[in-house]
Amino acid sequence: MEASISIKNLSLSFGALDVLKDLNLDVGRGEFLVLLGSSGCGKSTLLNCIAGLLDVSGGQIFIGGRNVTWEEPSKRGIGMVFQSYALYPQMTVAGNLSFGLKNARVPKPEIEERVARAAKILQIEPLLKRKPAALSGGQRQRAAIGRALVRDADVFLFDEPLSNLDAKLRADLRVEIKQLHQKLSNTMIYVTHDQIEAMTLADRIAIMRGGRILQLASPKEIYNRPASKYVAEFIGSPTMNFFEGEIISGDGLRFVSGGHAFPLEDYAFLDSTFQPAPAWFGIRPEHMVAGDPADTAPVRLQGRVELVEPLGSDTLARVKVDGHLLWVRLDGQASVFPGDDIQVGFDPARANLFDKTTEDRL
């Protein structure tokens, strides 16, 4: 895939504090990349560097094959959408959309044409004459996207654009952003701390922590084969269940924790010549079964239900098994109550093993 954005050995430090460390990243043309991480991981900083709003300390940024490391934000061919919308409060929506074009001395008829087109795509035509204060949150964010749209930019940068909206609106706009991407097929980089946004929107997700990218892969890959324990914990809700123990050989490889032993014949190790070592064993709540289906599962455990969270579509149960608290995702209609004794089971082939010390995937 042809690279639309290339980041080469990028680093950024504020005094002694290194925010980004020797970061490399290639984003393909038309790709939707999501930068995901908890706050302070450097994801917004990276986006600001790409936009040119922060001066980098080292390394290079290429957009569309052009070295833009020292370029002004407006000369980089980007459009940007901010969390707080950042609409100019004293201008109408139309004024907001055309401000950048006027700065670039685009001829007036063309400005009008581009604004009209963007307004049509985003269905904000009736709002063009209004001031931002007279818009709802969703309308404001749509206007903000419009401001990026009129620039005819190759690259769209989104900095947590949906974080200020309520849950329902967030879901609606998420769909709209995805449709927009399918329609325009621009390169988009999207920063969020919301794993649902990341999973639903991304072609690839880059999970960041401490100014580094921990894993860069498709949502499926990240969900199914997290590269480290941190990634495994970060993606998925409720979070993955972990057992602390040891992998031993003899009678095939087995994971031993407390009185339990899980057979690992079907587990796909990264390194087939794996040597026994202490490890973490992780299994997702949705890969566990309970009740009758558990009878046929390769691993079965007895536990007691401590807490039940009915979600309608699913029911989450927290089950205590020998001192471990495990989340199990059950059917929405399942009737389980706190205090029930329950059998839970899972298939170790769907598990994730991580090295005890490095916490990397095994």
């Binding site: 002004e72 100019y88 409060p89 004293q90 950048g100 700065n103 931002p132 204060a133 620039r151």
Partner: protein
């Protein structure tokens, strides 16, 4: 009335539950004929408050006393300025004028004598205006650009620069008085209105810059970033984004400067010469130069006239002033 069916439905549901729970259904039915009658004896609704509570007496009493304390001198001034000299000599300073006369006001404005000339406050008034307008405009323009640069364009040494500027606000004027005389003399502006305008502009700089910097810093950074992505430069962001958003703080700065400069006495007397004296200095000279009798009514009228400009500014822009001072967050 439209809500009644809904309420009825609720109460029916309640009855059904009560029945299911096996309680005494007939009794409960009797207790709950309608929603309104459900209120039991005892506290209900809004808590009653006594008008003449101890707290109210203390609060309003204090406020009234303080108001009187501040308003009484003003009352005396106005009343005295409307009396003729014979009436003043009777000595009842609180009594209203028996015979209202505006002669003292006319005299204060146009005829009152200082030791040097006899054209009243009018000369000082126009001098003050000629000092005020350029000083206010110049200081606000420079300080707002300063504050904007310090808040949004983090240049190297910005913090040091800002600290030096703020420290400047704490140096007593007296220390700088004489050095400034020499500096103005060297550039040939000593004794001119231009010189005084420059002095006022410089002395307004620390507090105004602080004011503008803090205001601009409270404008969301993302707005500034968006404007940069939109290709706006230093001046375009300043004029098109920042200034239109900042009317309240400009009003606050204007009020501070208008009152400060209008009320200034020290710089006026030091850096100008007699025929360029501002109104405050002129007032002082009128009040302090006595020929024969001390004309209290003229002095009172002159003092009120001098205070009229800041007073008017307060009344016109008081609301904006409060809004500007209180403005912390700017909603986008």
């Amino acid at each position: 009335m439209t809500k009644t069916p809904h309420l009825l439905k609720n109460s029916l549901k309640y009855r059904a539950e009560a029945g299911a729970a096996g309680g005494d259904v007939s009794l409960r039915l009797a207790e709950v004929p309608s929603e309104a009658a459900r209120v039991e004896n005892g506290p209900a609704g809004r808590k009653p408050r006594k008008v003449l509570s101890r707290r109210n007496i203390i609060v309003y009493g204090t406020l009234i006393v303080v108001c009187l304390y501040y308003l009484l001198p003003l009352y005396v001034m106005i009343v005295t300025s409307l009396k003729g000299m014979p009436e003043i000599r009777i000595g009842n300073i609180f009594s209203p004028p028996l015979e209202v006369t505006f002669q003292p006001w006319v005299k204060a404005w146009a005829e009152a004598c200082t030791g040097l000339n006899c054209d009243g406050l009018s000369r000082g008034f126009f001098n003050s205006v000629r000092i005020l307008i350029p000083s206010v405009i110049l200081s606000i323009v420079i300080a707002s650009v300063n504050g904007y640069a310090l808040a949004n364009w983090r240049f190297k040494g910005a913090d040091t620069f800002f600290t030096i500027l703020i420290v400047g606000a704490f140096i007593p004027y007296q220390v700088m008085l004489y050095p400034l005389v020499i500096m103005l003399r060297e550039i040939g502006l000593y004794g001119s209105l231009t010189g005084l305008v420059i002095v006022h502009t410089i002395f307004g700089m620390p507090i105004l810059t602080l004011l503008f910097r803090n205001y601009f810093a409270s404008v969301p950074q993302e707005l500034f970033k968006a404007a940069r992505v939109d290709g706006a430069g230093f001046w375009r962001i300043y004029f098109r984004i920042m200034v239109p958003m900042s009317l309240p703080i400009f009003v606050v700065a204007m009020i501070l400067q208008v009152t400060g400069i209008w009320n200034d006495f020290l710089f006026g007397v030091v850096y100008t010469k007699p025929d360029l004296y501002p109104m405050t200095v002129q007032l002082n000279n009128i009040v302090n130069s006595t020929q024969g009798v001390k004309e209290y009514n003229v002095n009172m009228a002159a003092t009120i006239l001098t205070g009229l400009v800041p007073l008017t500014v307060y009344f016109i822009s008081g609301k904006l002033f409060v809004r500007g001072i209180a403005a912390g967050a700017v909603k986008g």
